[in-house]
Amino acid sequence: MSLTLNLLLNGVALGMLIFLIAAGLSLIFGLMGVLNFAHGAIFIWGAYVGWATYGLTGSFILAILAGMVAGFIIGWVIERFFIRPFYDSHVAQILLTLGLMLVLTEGIKLIWGPNILGFDKPELLQGVVTILNDPFPVYRIFTIAVGALILIGVHLMLTKTKYGIIIRAGVQNPEMVQALGINVRRVFSLVFAFGAALAAFGGVISGPSFGSIFPELGMQNQLAAFIVIVIGGIGNFLGVAIGSLLVGVTQTFMAYYVPEAALAVNVALMALVLILKPEGLFGVRR
């Protein structure tokens, strides 16, 4: 396999990981206009709960489920008690969720300590496969496949179900959705919790991919998620997927060729999109 193809595949795998954390944030930001800076903390809490469950049970599937349940509950609590009183104030949202990010990260340190923890890949997903005469980790193929399944699943939910129609309408005009007799606030809560569960799912899947987890991993991935949402488009799920792949591939190539500029390039890309098309490449202008 050529170096380019290798980097491309790795970039796609990284993009899928970023997509898993960004997807939920896109729905939350797109539908509710909520700037949730605690999203990365939910991601890492999912990773830690998944790690603990995997350690206890030996089952990766249970680890994923446990991580998602933890993410859902944390998301529901955050929306119900910290976001709902401040829907009209972006400043309050930013300050509160930044604070929650710190508190949740410190919470991880209290329970599991501040050190890096190794997160082994499940036995079935260890090893490599040969692609074009070169080895490629099985787990990265798994990551790409899982990301693709989530993309298809959520896309089908958004386009084929009434709930999905409500979410897409709410992204554009929540007031009109209310006027049609739909309780948008309840939808908000469910979307927030669902978005959080997606982030936690991403956390569990990321753990074995990175090989280890540590409390600050959430904050690091959160920045990538915000960049992706701006590039891909607020409230556009497909846009977020494409944005994630773009960021993942760019970051992977830059990390190989010009590592010092890897993050800067993505931030520059975000800035360019903001200037030329503020709603994102595929975003919906309100």
């Binding site: 897409r168 554009q172 209310q178 006027a179 049609l180 007799g181 739909i182 919906v284």
Partner: protein, 236 residues
């Protein structure tokens, strides 16, 4: 004739601005009640106050004998009030079909019949069924907005300036549809186009500077040039 809606001395603020300073309305069942007034008189805010989108700070909104001011908008809508906003409120990313699906609260035979009725009124919507809302013309958007409001078993429709920005031929179509819908529901209509309003309206309330300044029959208003000049601006 039964009073369906009574608005009693409502005062509504938008931020620090005291927009409605005492608006009174009485809407009788089966009739088209028109709210007239110059730009900035408070007509749209009145409809929004009834729907709970801009809730009144003081006063009462009584619908079918029940006070609804202070209720959440979705609960007010569920009580049987359809709303057609001034900007039509079409979801541009959703198709015509999805816009209608979203609006339907309970899909039963009666709802299917109302949908068929409204699609016969607006055959353009049948042709554009799979088209996204953002790709519709202004007239089609207005028709879709009205179809959405009508499809449920709503006892009252609040329609805000349906003729705004539309070609005369489309305005005529909208007028005809209001006359058809009037046979099955009660309508509160905000309109700046007096010619259109006078063609469909039964009762009139005039607003000026956030107050109700006149109430009466449309037939009387049609004859009163001085009244029209005073509260609607240039002579019609």
């Amino acid at each position: 004739m039964k009073t369906l809606l009574k608005v009693e001395n409502i005062e509504t603020f938008i931020g620090q601005y005291h927009i409605l300073q005492g608006v009174n309305l009485e809407v009788r069942e089966g009739r088209v009640t028109v709210i007239l007034g110059r730009n900035g008189a408070g007509k749209t805010t009145t409809l929004r106050s009834i729907m709970g989108l801009t809730p009144p700070r003081r006063g009462k909104v009584v619908y079918q004998g029940e006070e609804i001011q202070g209720l959440a908008t979705h609960l007010i809508a569920q009580k049987g009030i359809g709303y057609v906003p001034e900007d039509q409120g079409i979801f541009s990313d959703l198709t015509v079909e999805e816009n209608m699906k979203l609006a339907i609260r309970k899909l039963d035979d009666a709802t299917r019949e109302r949908q068929d009725f409204v699609l016969d009124l607006f055959p353009d919507l049948k042709i554009a069924w799979k088209r996204k809302g953002g790709n519709l013309s202004g007239g089609q958007k207005q028709m879709l907005s009205m179809a959405r409001a009508f499809v449920n078993d709503n006892k009252m429709l609040l329609i805000d300036e349906p003729s705004k920005g539309l070609a005369p031929i489309v305005v005529e179509k909208v007028m005809e549809s209001i006359m058809e819908m009037k046979k099955r529901t009660t309508i509160v209509l905000v309109e700046q186009n007096f010619i259109m309003a006078s063609g469909v309206g039964d009762d009139v309330f005039m607003l000026d500077d956030g107050h109700t300044v006149y109430s009466g029959l449309m037939d009387d208003v049609k004859e009163d040039e001085a009244l029209k000049k005073k509260y609607l601006g240039i002579a019609i």
